[in-house]
Symmetry: C2
Subunit: 230 residues, 2 copies
């Protein structure tokens, strides 16, 4: 058997990077899983590669899935990324940056890989506090996915490994997440969060993701190594 294994969904952003560091600190052998999904921001994938390498992932797999074909989101299509929304607005409605069923699609691939690797845990950086209004970041969704996953697989039928969906950030604020990551030695300079970066790769500073990141560093009292602001 050897080491215990975990598949970690890795976008290259602040949350998934912290999650990977947490999984490593718990002694898992790490298998990072990222997606090229027709998103505007291929910069995420460069960040994911840097992070997987820096955190010593055993493998880093990048799957191609063309969610743009399905449409319905500012992150895969032509809809504009909203800027300058306040927290009230973020919480009131599900934003156009929501990608239909994205976490379900990502977790399904993670489940397939976990089954092949005989990994016992799938880590995902969802967050129900500063969560920007996505339905598939809520605890009841994650529980339902885990239940389904344990009926979906060969291992489940044969009563072997049960797979656990691990969401260590789910009840943390962005500031908590950043403090935890710093404690685990993460250099957040290698991460990328912006939904709509400049052609040179600089964060826009005004999309939901940039605003939540900014607020997190400010509340943690730490300087963001990417923007050099706090």
């Amino acid at each position: 058997m050897g080491e215990k294994k975990a598949v970690v969904l890795l976008s290259g952003g602040l949350d998934s990077t912290t999650v990977m560091a947490i999984a490593r600190s718990e002694g898992y052998e790490i298998y990072g899983l990222s997606f090229r999904y027709g998103q505007r921001h291929a910069l995420e994938l460069e960040a994911a590669r840097r992070v997987a390498k820096a955190l010593g992932a055993k493998e880093h797999l990048v799957m191609d899935i063309d969610l743009a074909k399905i449409g319905g989101s500012a992150l895969t299509g032509d809809i504009e990324v909203p800027k300058g929304r306040d927290e009230g607005e973020m919480k009131r409605e599900i934003p156009v940056t929501y990608v239909p069923a994205r976490n379900t699609i990502f977790l399904s691939h993670a489940l397939a890989w976990a089954e092949v690797l005989e990994a016992s845990d799938i880590f995902i950086g969802v967050n129900a506090v500063d969560y920007s209004g996505y339905p598939d970041c809520r605890p009841q969704y994650i529980e339902a996915f885990e239940r389904m996953a344990n009926l979906a697989t060969k291992a489940g039928v044969e009563g072997r490994t049960r797979v656990k969906i691990r969401t260590p950030l789910i009840n943390m604020t962005k500031a908590d997440i950043i403090r935890e990551g710093i404690e685990l030695g993460i250099d957040y300079g290698m991460t990328h969060s912006c939904y709509d970066p400049s052609p040179e790769g600089m964060p826009c500073g005004r999309c939901d993701s940039c605003l939540l990141r900014k607020k997190g560093f400010r509340e943690a009292g730490i300087t963001d190594p990417v923007t050099l602001s706090r």
Copy 2:
């Protein structure tokens, strides 16, 4: 609003073709969804295109997902497709043609598309009788997926459309399925079932899929237009 819409998972085989005909007979506007997933048998996709056209699907979307990268199956990798297994063997163990988490990945994409289309139903041709031993064909799995799906989506959160996972074949024998399809006017000559066809596209006649199909036509007392045998 207009017509009620359904996403139908379509492999181009006998089961999914019958499911599409059933959805049509219930008055749905049909959106066929197929996958190019690194499978050996691209012939399936040609069959799926013929079927979608013949049954008047409003759209037919083919998504690329490279399950071969994840591995673990005779249908995507280098493992040999087993031949000449009897029914006892098929039921006793999950075969190497099992693709890890395949139905979960397929249904996840269907869920994303259903959300964008505002479709109320997703049809899938799983079968728990002549089912060849796959865990993700069982009713309890389908129920768990549906439950998860209704927590995953924007519509679920806002209390609008609930999505239903429809499995009209789940308790039918292969012979029942074929009789039903014939009644609905399906020409099964346009379908493709074999896991391991010859380079010319002829079914091998000995893989699980060919054997179940053969048994079905025999029990229904109908000649298979593909092999001209019953």
